[in-house]
């Protein structure tokens, strides 16, 4: 079936009133789930699964997919307002998003994140529609050495996330890598750094560390300075709550960057939206003319990662629908749903079920429009949160943090961990250690180690496998280049000083 015919057919399916309703239910639920830290799309989809047996398969997949991409819209809300990342993909949004909120620009930050999500989300669907089968084949050429290159490139972004001191940033990243190594080793099934605690066998949940270090660290730090007695500045007037034309202009490149990087990373079954968001933030910062202002509330710093993690969903559906290969927890549960409804996901899924595939694609265009219309009016509403006086806001953040962590694991042990990481975040802030490198290293640490060990197993222990394969060699070279960026800057500064002295 040609693309236009397929799409026309798809819109005919997606515009059926009942399917429109399911699409709306999906994206609404997704937005809510995204806003709440903790409960994520996989758990939500799993809970709704029994209900879907009474629905038509098209309606059901449209709704479940809506939860998946809808959650990415909501994910930035708590990152921007409360410095509390609800999921790993929106950690990097905290860096500039929360600083914008502190400067009274919470509205534009939330607004640009909805707009970037819409642009990149739509780009992801376009990609899924136009290039899915050939791209899926290409993704298969990625194996462990290539993933190692990708993860190394991601980790190299540490130098872009560093504050004043590179040494401190690298130390924080090392601690992150160490935390990632806690738990049961996949290869030998032995335990590492568990100190005899059965709770640590499963490792430490990323969300616990991120919420602890970012949100609790922030609350503790603010309590001390007592600055929080007054409310955060919040301009009046609806217009001031939305991004200006200048903001949109500043984000032109961020939209494109987030869309492309997010989609490409999404197509790889072993990568995920976290690295997509970090990579696009890194690229945005590396090419920016105001590089030194990143981390102080630059609007591109919100648009790029938020775009990337939305475009990633379109990409992640590529291997799922064209090969039956899930790359993440959410796509795995979508695969399970397809099987339970009696489909056979695999290479012949799209040719066998063109109506379902095109219906889904069409519904995703509609869903993204719905999400934009749904999310933009929410901006002024959410921005009001910052009007709350600190003696109410801070306890509220504490409560939401604890509920978020407890809802993912129902484990008291994790609450103690949360307290511990909150203290760590506070101490790091006092000693001027940046938190982002720790979180980045923690997010990528496991995949980084696994890819390295898998590569070495493939090559019988020879490191040359990492540089003799072209894609992996290219990415490792890029990583080295990124690592050298600060050196260039320093060299330049030294040269200028030398020039002045002459």
């Amino acid at each position: 079936m040609d693309i236009l015919g397929g799409l026309a057919n798809g819109f005919a399916v997606a515009f059926q009133p009942l399917n429109l309703l399911w699409c709306f239910v999906g994206v609404l639920l997704g937005t809510l789930v995204g806003i709440m830290p903790g409960l994520g799309p996989p758990a939500t989809i799993a809970m709704l699964l029994p209900l879907t047996f009474k629905m038509s398969p098209a309606g059901a997949i449209i709704m479940l997919a809506g939860i998946y991409y809808g959650a990415k819209y909501g994910g930035s809300t708590t990152s921007i307002l409360l410095n509390m990342p609800g999921e790993s993909a929106s950690v990097v949004t905290c860096l500039d998003g929360y600083q914008m909120a502190r400067k009274g620009r919470a509205g534009p930050a939330l607004g640009i994140s909805a707009i970037a999500s819409f642009v990149a989300g739509t780009f992801g669907v376009l990609g899924l529609m136009l290039v899915a089968p050939p791209l899926a084949k290409l993704a298969l050429s990625f194996s462990s050495p290539e993933y190692f290159g990708l993860m190394a490139l991601g980790l190299a972004m540490v130098v872009l996330l560093a504050g004043r001191s590179m040494v401190k940033a690298l130390l924080a990243a090392l601690v992150g890598l160490w935390i990632a190594s806690i738990g049961t080793d996949l290869f030998s099934a032995t335990s590492r750094f568990t100190f005899g605690q059965v709770e640590l066998l499963s490792g430490i949940d990323f969300v616990v560390v991120a919420i602890g270090v970012f949100a609790l660290g922030e609350v503790l730090g603010n309590l001390e300075t007592r600055e929080g007695v007054q409310m955060l500045p919040m301009p009046r007037g609806l217009l001031n709550l939305l991004p200006t034309l200048q903001d949109l202009k500043d984000c032109r490149f961020a939209f494109a960057n987030g869309s492309v990087i997010g989609f490409l990373v999404g197509v790889l079954p072993g990568a995920g939206s976290t690295i997509a968001s970090f990579l696009s933030y890194g690229v945005e910062k590396a090419v920016s003319r105001r590089r030194e202002q990143f981390g102080t509330g630059v609007i591109e710093g919100v648009a790029a990662p938020e775009g990337a993690n939305n475009s990633e969903t379109g990409g992640a559906l590529v291997p799922l629908l064209t090969l039956g290969i899930p790359g993440s927890g959410t796509t795995a549960i979508l695969l399970a749903a397809l099987v339970l409804w009696g489909f056979r996901p695999g290479p012949l899924f799209i040719p066998d079920n063109p109506g379902l595939f095109w219906g889904l694609v069409a519904s995703m265009y509609i869903g993204n429009v719905m999400l934009l219309v749904l999310n933009l009016p929410l901006v002024p509403l959410f921005a009001q949160v910052l009007r709350t006086p600190s003696y109410i806001l801070y306890p509220l953040i504490l409560g939401v943090s604890m509920i978020g962590v407890y809802s993912t694991s129902s484990s008291l042990f994790d609450l103690w961990l949360l307290a511990g990481f909150g203290l760590l975040g506070y101490v790091m802030r006092k000693l001027d250690y940046p938190a982002a490198p720790l979180i980045l290293a923690l997010a990528l640490g496991n995949d980084f180690e696994r890819a390295l060990r898998q590569s070495l197993m493939m090559s019988e222990g020879s490191l040359s496998i990492l540089v003799t394969r072209p894609i992996s060699a290219a990415m490792l070279s890029l990583a080295v280049l990124v690592l050298l960026i600060p050196a260039f800057g320093r060299f330049n500064a030294w040269r200028l000083r030398a020039l002045e002295q002459e």
Binding site: A139, S143, A189, Q197, P326, L340, Q454, M458
Partner: protein
């Protein structure tokens, strides 16, 4: 999640006709613990069973799947063990539960501390290569692996998974050696094979079926006692010339420690009845599982044998066992 009392009462009235054992009946939502996250093998299995129990009206209350992932199953085991005496909790175990505590010293509880209820299915497997691979039979592959020790590669799950057990058994029987690369997700294992990064894998028949239909994969042998209906032209391991024990993936039900005998009987009878229903038969057939029902007493014998074999295999693989 709480269900309003009136609903529970109504449900138990309905359920009264299907009550099996005298005396015990779950009174509120039953928690079914699994060790994978949403979308993982056990999770999908448990959710399918929840749907069937509802459809066949076998359980007077709702079955709610609770995910306790991590530690290769040890976290889920510990959780069930702490529910000691709880009549409204059950858990779905797999072969991993029987293997992992052998290597995890931290595990304060093991599956052997829990109450065995029933074995439900055996999942057979097939051995597959990429469609354009030079190996037409398993003998071809073993021959190539013997000639180039350690050069060929297999993708699979953790070292205690069935994939690796099949490899170890074949290696022991033939003296051939090939590498084993662990991938955390099933999708990544298939991607590694289809991308030509590994040479062989052990895969569920249902999953392989679609890749064979698309002409991407070829099956060399099936890890079964007798041929599966949908793979009638593929030899079993024994027919392919390798007389090694057949290791199916096993799935079944356990309950917390210290529950009364009548509770065990209730669950055992419930699941026995489930395996007689048309929904179950269709499910087993669709997924190409083998019906593997065993009651509580026989399950204990099965677990003993499984543990012994696993201990030997881990030792052979150079993994230190702690129990």
């Amino acid at each position: 999640m709480r269900i309003p009392v009136c609903l529970v009462a109504a449900a138990s009235l309905l359920g009264a006709t299907t009550a099996i054992a005298q005396g015990f009946k779950p009174t509120r939502t039953v928690e079914a613990i699994v060790h994978t996250g949403p979308g993982g093998g056990s999770d999908v299995f448990a959710r399918a069973i929840a749907v069937m129990l509802e459809k066949e009206k076998l359980l007077p209350v709702r079955l709610q799947v609770v995910n306790k992932p991590g530690g290769n199953g040890n976290v889920a085991v510990a959780y069930v063990a702490e529910k000691k005496g709880d009549p409204n909790t059950i858990a779905f175990f797999t072969g991993n539960w029987l293997a992992n505590y052998l290597v995890a010293a931290e595990a304060k509880f093991t599956i052997r501390d829990l109450t065995p209820v029933a074995r439900l299915v055996l999942e057979p497997a097939v051995i597959a290569v990429k469609a354009d691979a030079p190996y037409k039979t398993l003998k071809d592959f073993i021959g190539a692996a013997t000639k180039n020790p350690g050069k060929l590669k297999q993708s699979g799950g953790s070292i205690t998974s069935r994939d690796n057990v099949v490899r170890q058994l074949l290696q022991q029987a033939t003296g051939a050696r090939w590498a084993y690369i662990s991938y955390p997700g099933g999708g990544q294992r298939v991607a590694a094979l289809l991308g030509g990064h590994v040479d062989i894998m052990v895969i569920e028949p249902e999953e392989a079926g679609e890749h064979i239909r698309a002409g991407n994969m070829r099956v060399l042998a099936q890890v079964t006692e007798k041929r599966l209906a949908r793979f009638s032209d593929v030899p079993t391991l024994k027919e392919a010339g390798f007389d090694v024990p057949v290791v199916p993936q096993v799935r079944g039900v356990v309950a917390p420690p210290g529950i009364p005998k009548e509770n065990v009987e209730y669950w055992q009878a419930l699941f026995h009845r489930l395996t007689q229903t048309p929904s179950w038969k269709k499910y087993v057939e669709d997924n190409q599982f083998e019906d593997g029902y065993l009651g509580s007493a026989e399950l204990v014998t099965f677990m003993d044998g499984f543990n012994d074999r696993m201990r030997g295999i881990l030792k052979e693989a150079g993994v230190k066992t702690v129990r």
